[in-house]
Symmetry: C2
Subunit: 112 residues, 2 copies
Amino acid sequence: MNQQDRSYKDKKVISIGTVSELTGLTLRQIRYYEERKLIAPYRNDRGTRKYSFNDIETLMDIADKREDGVQTTEILKEMRLKEKQRESEAEVKKKMLQGQLNAQFRYGRGRN
Amino acid sequence: MNQQDRSYKDKKVISIGTVSELTGLTLRQIRYYEERKLIAPYRNDRGTRKYSFNDIETLMDIADKREDGVQTTEILKEMRLKEKQRESEAEVKKKMLQGQLNAQFRYGRGRN
DNA sequence: CGTGTAAGGAATTCTGACACG
DNA sequence: CGTGTAAGGAATTCTGACACG
């Protein structure tokens, strides 16, 4: 996904009623998951919550796990773990790219 | 942009107040451009308008043209023309791809 | 033509709280 | 713990219409 596309997915512009329709969750549930730090909607001037498509996907994941009886505390831990995993992966990729650049640089110099 | 990303851009989930903030247009203007067929928001059960990110981009284009004094009728014509151009381009691409496939097929047969 | 505005009604969202299990 | 609900207030959105230039 490129930069442009991310901006759509991350932009917090959807109000809670629409999120409720899209996820099948009640307003109460959506607000409660925020209280438990599982999501962090933006608040506009008037204090109205605004959600992103990303938030909606997170909420659908939460709904699945809650159906399996997983508590919000556990879900929060899982989410934090996943986040760390993503960071590590990004780190590995960065290092691999760095290694390739170094190799290419040495190769280029050798031919001159 | 892949299928998944398109769904974010095209999904009509943003209410008119947010669209107003994002585009700088007044509610009156946004509704009027709909009346002139420049945009077509979705209406939910209660008749509330819902817009997509695509609609927002269209509205920003409209705003620019209106500032240049272009009338809504002209803008509509321009939009329809662009649409036809996009269709032609898609047609050309389709034909080029078809040609390549044919060539490949003949080439493959020749070697057997 | 394009936009502002006042009008009245209906639906939305917010918070804090009590209830239940 | 997770969710429902009633409560009261504030802001949103809708339509049809009159106004102006």
